[in-house]
């Protein structure tokens, strides 16, 4: 026979993990801004100081790197939201077992 999971503890674990991801997401937002500024500066410098292929290489590599950073940033947000949903559903189960089935989320 299965035992009822400790939903309250699980909810608190997911809340903790979700907050940790959210903090990383916010830190990365600043890094993203910084990366954008560096990218623009790098592209301008490369086109001004290097040969055309050097400028082109920096532009292509810079855009690809920035796109990867954006994707990673988006994934972090998805993970944080997913963990938050896990937290909420465990809270819902805890309330449901306490017989507050009206408590929607």
């Amino acid at each position: 026979m299965n035992t009822i999971p400790d939903y309250a503890t699980r909810a608190s674990q997911f809340e903790h993990e979700s907050e940790r991801k959210q903090r990383r997401y916010e830190r990365l937002a600043w890094m993203r801004l910084l990366a954008f500024i560096l990218l623009v500066a790098g592209v301008i410098l490369a086109w001004r100081e290097a040969l055309w292929w050097g400028g082109l290489s920096v532009t292509v590599a810079g855009i690809a790197g920035f796109a990867a950073l954006i994707r990673r940033h988006g994934r972090l947000q998805e993970q944080a939201q997913h963990l938050q949903r896990l937290q909420l559903l465990n809270e819902y189960e805890a309330r449901s077992l306490a017989h507050n089935d009206d408590s929607h989320w």
Binding site: M1, N2, T3, I4, P5, Q81, H82, R85, L86, L88, L89, N90, Y92, E93, S96, L97, H99, D101, D102, H104, W105
Partner: protein, 506 residues
Amino acid sequence: MTAIGDGATFIDVGHPYSYDLDLFGPFSLFQKVNRGHTSIGQARLAEWLQNPVDTASILHRQAAAEELAALTDWQHELRAYGAALKETPGQIARLSQWLQQPPVVVGHPWRQLALWAAPVLFVVAVGLWIFVWPWYMAFWLLLPAGLWLRQALDDVQRLHLQTGQVSDTLRHYADLLRQIEGQPFSSERMKELREQLHTGGTPASEAIRQLAYRVSQLDVRYNMFVFLLEFSVVWDLQQAYRLDKWKARYRESLPQWFEALAEVEALVSIGNLRLNHPGWSWPQVHDASQIEAIALGHPLIAAAKRVSNDLVMPTYGHIQLLTGSNMAGKSTWLRTVGTNMVLALAGAPVCASRLLLPQMQVYTSMRTQDALHESTSSFYAELKRLKFIIEAVEDPTKTAGRPVFFLLDEILKGTNSRDRHTGAKALIRQLMESNGAGIIATHDLELGAMEAVSDGRIENWAIEVAIANGQLVFDYRLKRGVSKSFNATHLMREMGIRISDDMVAE
């Protein structure tokens, strides 16, 4: 994040039992059981609660739900993906309509020609504009693209109406399907359902993600600059062509994938019910015409407050007459029996330490109401409901051969006491002669006399209420015999109706 639905959209007052047993709506059985987020998963669970299923399917569902109950982390992951869904009503139905429609581009030679001719003409027009012609001359080369688009406009509009803005929903469906595809299962039904997600040659999640992308590309039509794409590459036709190709490949598979997803979500709901209530039991369905329950309780009453009772009775030509004072718990007992039978015959665990029952079809008459729009009084509404039940008892074709088990509360309450007694007596006799079985709750104590002349086919049961120190004491326990306690006078006095002892004595 979406809320877990209470199933209010499934409320049907004409259903044999769902309205009386509080199957749907706020504080309902559906709300307690449901953990699905997709429209198709919720509809599947509602269908299971509304329609009893054969014994083999019950056993399959029980085994699958038992397996899912043990997979807590997996089912929570699935539900978390589901909770991200923001599905709007009708999206999946419209998508199903699209599957039945003929292709928009494939099979139309002129439209297929446009797929490559329009981009070629565009490149030529741009080249001539730059090197040879003035712009208005080059513009004429774009005219065929406009004509092709105009010719296909109605078909594309219909296509977009059926698939528009569904891409986000499909992406979340793909997440749910991927979660199912990635989990090995051991129960027969779960293995079959997982297999079903590979019928198209590609994993269902991957194919649906492709569809989501294709649909999102057609949604580019909402962009105000889409005309640039339309005149250069006939964007609408390009996307319609890709959707045609997707449909040709997966037309047969998509409904099966949705079926599998719906069933898994419904099974997860049942598995979760099992997980949260380890003290409940899996019912056993047998061939004998007998119901046997030990510690049967109402699933919607908290365990700390719940009072359980046993029930043993034949289900062929047998009636239990239940009497008791007001608020004694007669209606709750009827609902306890009904909801547990519904759960059992849907493949779910029941709120009992043991339940043995045959295949049956529950019918209830408990909450009949007058209807102004139908010019129907509450008495007439009840008569119509009773007719509905009598017909089901007397004509097995109406229940696909399932014997009827009825739960009737306060029959014929809307008429005078003499007619009520006569009518109730005749009805009980008729139901019994038609070999119906069920429980009838009544305040008419004189009906209890029928037990003596019924050859054991009618049993009297009662729930008593005691008055101690001027307070009503409820124990909600079923006892053999006719009720001997009366509390209506006490209740009426408490509500401010001045009833003297002399009046009671009269």
